[in-house]
């Protein structure tokens, strides 16, 4: 029984998870390390990496700020409609990535609500960086908040209340009392948000317009290279994102080892 279960689990995970992961690196390196490294010299690949980094650099801090505000408001206070608010924060997780991108096209696209106005004023959102940022922000919206809300609720308010009663200011209480308590949860939330932001495909695909060297993020560039049968290039770019995912899981494991557990 024991070995049957272990065997079945291993076989399932090997076929679905390990084989695909190994194939990423095997294909990326099939023509040698030199071809692998050369694929990153391609200006379009470099541009895609830059765009992905820029997007994450805007999205992750904003969603972190939101996560901190949302968790403070919902974990420290009791008010009417609180659980409804938390449900709404989770909403993007239930929405298909394609819909997450489409809603911004409906708003800002050429035939969307503000399309004509935007065109008259020469502002491009869809098929440009702002659209990519908006769609990515929508998709990664709940990650930091979801990590922090249960953590803060579990830790309680006693220490904060003591600090305030003893005369500490609001910011001092937050930075000296709350932040040290939640730091590991915050680290994991931010890392996960970042991995999602850099890897988002569906939502960004809808708003990007796929302009090479301009509006292609890493995942979109992988698609283009793959469809052109440039497998080394596609899987080389994919290997970078795979390493990012592995690093995310390593951080998660380390964070859990510090004693912080999800729920």
């Amino acid at each position: 029984m024991r070995w049957l279960f272990i065997g079945l689990s291993l076989a399932f995970l090997a076929a679905l998870l390990l084989a695909p992961l190994a194939t990423v690196f095997a294909t990326a390196l099939q023509k040698g390390t030199r071809a692998y490294l050369r694929s990153f010299a391609d200006p379009d690949t470099a541009a895609a990496i830059r765009l992905t980094l820029t997007t994450a650099l805007v999205v992750v801090p904003l969603n972190t700020l939101f996560g901190l505000a949302a968790s403070w408001a919902t974990a420290k206070f009791e008010f009417r409609g609180k659980s409804f608010l938390i449900t709404l924060i989770d909403l993007p997780l239930a929405v298909s990535p394609v819909i997450s991108g489409m809603i911004f096209v409906l708003l800002f696209g050429l035939h969307g609500w503000f399309g004509v106005w935007l065109q008259e004023h020469d502002i491009s959102i869809i098929f440009a960086l702002p659209g990519i940022i908006l769609a990515t922000m929508f998709v990664t919206f709940p990650y930091v908040a979801r990590e922090l809300i249960p953590l803060m609720q579990q830790l309680g308010n006693d220490e904060e209340e003591a600090a305030i009663t003893l005369g500490a200011g609001a910011w001092m209480t937050f930075f000296q009392v709350t932040l040290p308590k939640i730091r590991w949860g915050l680290v994991y939330g931010v890392i996960l948000c970042n991995a999602r932001a850099m890897g988002e495909f569906g939502a960004v695909s809808v708003v990007s317009g796929h302009i090479r060297g301009l509006t292609n993020t890493m995942p979109l560039h992988i698609e283009i290279l793959y469809n052109e049968y440039n497998f080394v290039g596609a899987f080389a770019a994919a290997s970078l994102l795979t390493l990012l995912a592995v690093m995310t899981l390593v951080v998660k494991t380390l964070v859990e080892r510090t004693g912080y557990r999800r729920r």
Binding site: S9, V95, S96, F104, V105, M137, A170, F201, G202, L241
Partner: protein
């Protein structure tokens, strides 16, 4: 009853205001645009789009493959969770950490990787080919991709519930002569059932909307291997915003129903304490 209970802590107005503003700007207003766009359609146009043969064909694939994938995850989610919770073997911690991989791995990466593994000349595909089983570019491939992305939801739902099963009850039952299957049916299953169903629903919900990992491994042929999210993208690329919005609206409504089911299941799981079989 006042809006909020009194507290000495500061920052309520600031943080709640920021949260509500940001949530409205990024999430609620854009989603409202989708609903408004659909509402501005004539009823007959709406029906024409959402019940067109091509749309119905895509629902059949999206929902059929998602149901199948969620069912596979129901079974293997339990097996994997059981293995991780009950057995000690070398590499167990590594395996446990790997479960979250599909969460962290970009869908485009899992899409191209699965396709090359299951293609005719791929590492696994080449052994299935002689049996006449084609995975890549068929509905089987779609199911494989949807199984992968739903797997962590199933495992992570069941794991904590399995930890709660009281081993003493199992031991007592076995001492009293109960068979393995009887113990499973009367002690283990009742404890983990809400978690199993929650995992199933979460995996299903995630699978229905999935796009990135599917479009590489699906053949994307209309009526055959075209998922609903792809059909939405095709409408958008033809600048048929209303058609896209209508299909998106249908998917959104289904997501809400699924989300509601999850909440009800979780409430059920909380209410049902660890109960011994009578």
């Amino acid at each position: 009853m006042s809006f909020r209970q009194p507290s000495v802590l500061p920052g309520f107005e600031l943080t709640l205001g920021f949260t509500t503003f940001f949530l409205s700007a990024i999430v609620l207003l854009p989603l409202a645009a989708l609903v408004l766009m659909t509402a501005s359609m004539h009823w007959s146009d709406f029906v024409h789009v959402v019940l067109s043969p091509r749309a119905v064909g895509s629902y059949r694939l999206s929902f059929g493959a998602s149901l199948l994938a969620a069912t596979i995850n129901l079974v293997f989610g339990f097996i994997i969770a059981w293995t991780l919770v009950r057995y000690e073997f070398p590499g167990r911690k590594l395996l446990d950490a790997l479960i979250d991989m599909p969460f962290a791995l970009p869908t485009a990466v899992s899409g191209i990787a699965l396709t090359s593994v299951f293609a005719e000349n791929g590492w696994i595909g080449r052994y299935l080919e002689p049996f006449g089983i084609k995975v890549a570019y068929t509905w089987i491939g779609v199911t494989v991709a949807l199984t992968l992305i739903g797997m962590p939801f199933a495992v992570r739902s069941v794991q904590p519930a399995l930890l709660e099963v009281q081993r003493e009850l199992e031991d007592a039952a076995e001492t009293l002569g109960a068979g393995r299957l009887y113990v499973f049916r009367r002690i283990i299953l009742p404890t983990v059932l809400p978690a199993l169903l929650t995992g199933f629903t979460l995996a299903f919900a995630r699978a229905v909307g999935e796009y990135g990992s599917v479009i590489f491994i699906a053949g994307n042929l209309p009526m055959k291997t075209e998922i609903t999210p792809l059909l939405i993208v095709i409408h958008l690329e033809e600048f048929d915003y209303k058609g896209a919005a209508a299909l998106g609206f249908v998917m959104l409504v289904i997501s809400f129903v699924v989300l509601l089911t999850i909440n009800l299941l979780q409430a059920w799981g909380r209410r049902e304490p660890v109960k011994a079989a009578r």
